[in-house]
């Protein structure tokens, strides 16, 4: 299935749940609302003609002070899906606000989401509702804050032992 048809299928199924969709040099992206996200991901995985059986990547972007998006939702959670059967790809995004940075966990759909979501929590502070083990992945338990947030001070150091700089 080509990318445009995948986006059409998503739009046909979710209507206003798909906020926008675009094609950038052959990479097809659908931005869905947070409420439509769990359904959209399950649809992508289970629909036979889509059959996205692989979650290639799950990450987030911090749009704090991003030109043109100063007022918009701060974070974007990004899912890269791949279908082994059909050899096609799609990117699903959803936007969340800083005060309510919670997304439904994708662990029931793809077990690999477990560590991806822990990493996103660790680095960006976006939580995943229903995650079975919501601990940090990379940083240590004593670490305060989320280092890939744009407002994390670039020179803040939190060593476990040794001097602070």
């Amino acid at each position: 299935m080509d990318g445009a048809a995948i986006l059409d299928a998503l739009r046909a199924r979710f209507g206003a749940g798909v906020v926008e969709a675009h094609d950038h040099h052959g990479d097809h992206t659908a931005v869905v609302t947070r409420d439509a996200l769990p359904g959209a991901l399950a649809f992508c995985r289970d629909q036979p003609e889509l059959a996205f059986d692989m979650l290639m990547d799950l990450t987030a972007v911090d749009y704090l002070k991003f030109p043109g998006r100063e007022d918009g939702p701060r974070f974007e959670v990004v899912y890269h899906l791949y279908s082994v059967a059909h050899n096609h790809r799609v990117r699903i995004k959803t936007r969340v606000d800083e005060d309510d940075a919670v997304v439904t966990s994708a662990v029931p759909l793809w077990p690999i989401a477990n560590w991806f979501e822990r990493e996103v929590w660790d680095m960006f502070g976006v939580r995943f509702a229903g995650h079975p083990d919501p601990r940090r992945l990379l940083m240590y338990e004593e670490f305060v804050g989320h280092p890939l947030r744009k407002d994390y001070p670039i020179d803040r150091r939190q060593p476990l032992i040794g001097p602070a700089d």
Binding site: P147, P159, G162
Partner: protein, 152 residues
């Protein structure tokens, strides 16, 4: 020079000579420098010529701690513990710029030089260091071992 001093200095020299040719290193390998360390340890460059051919993978059996690769703040307590487990006499080699100064990783995750955690005897800069610089560092360490006052 008194007779006692004469003997002490000669025994020191003999022990230093023995110790500098029986370096059992503990490679604490965390990053890409490990490949260069392995290249140096293999037959092309052959650090067995310097009596350092047999790495020990237990800190309790090792004399020299080779810290090879970036040390993160999360790893720092582990490194300190490995160092504490080594028996005297012991030496530390900082292998590569990450262990010397943090290298180009000046960020929230990286220790800015392992000398902020444990004492370091020889620094081998490079990203990664060429085997020649590693051997140079090893020979400098040998000189240091041979020249120092020996405790026994």
């Amino acid at each position: 020079m008194g007779l006692g001093t004469f003997f002490t200095s000669k025994i020191d020299g003999a022990i230093g000579w023995a110790r500098k040719y029986s370096i059992f290193q503990y490679p604490f390998v965390t990053a890409c420098c490990g490949m260069e360390y392995m290249a140096t340890a293999c037959s092309h460059y052959d650090i067995d010529r310097f009596g350092a051919g047999l790495p020990r993978f237990s800190p309790r059996q090792a004399d020299v701690l080779f810290v090879v690769g970036t040390i993160s703040h999360k790893m720092a307590p582990v490194l300190k513990r490995v160092y504490d487990q080594m028996t005297e006499p012991k030496w530390v080699v900082a292998f590569g710029v990450c262990t010397c100064t943090g290298g180009f990783y000046n960020n929230y995750a990286t220790v800015q030089g392992i000398d902020t955690l444990i004492p370091v005897d020889v620094y081998i800069p490079g990203c990664p260091p060429r085997p020649e610089s590693v051997i140079d560092g090893l020979m400098k360490l040998q000189d240091k071992i041979a020249a120092q006052a020996q405790r026994y």
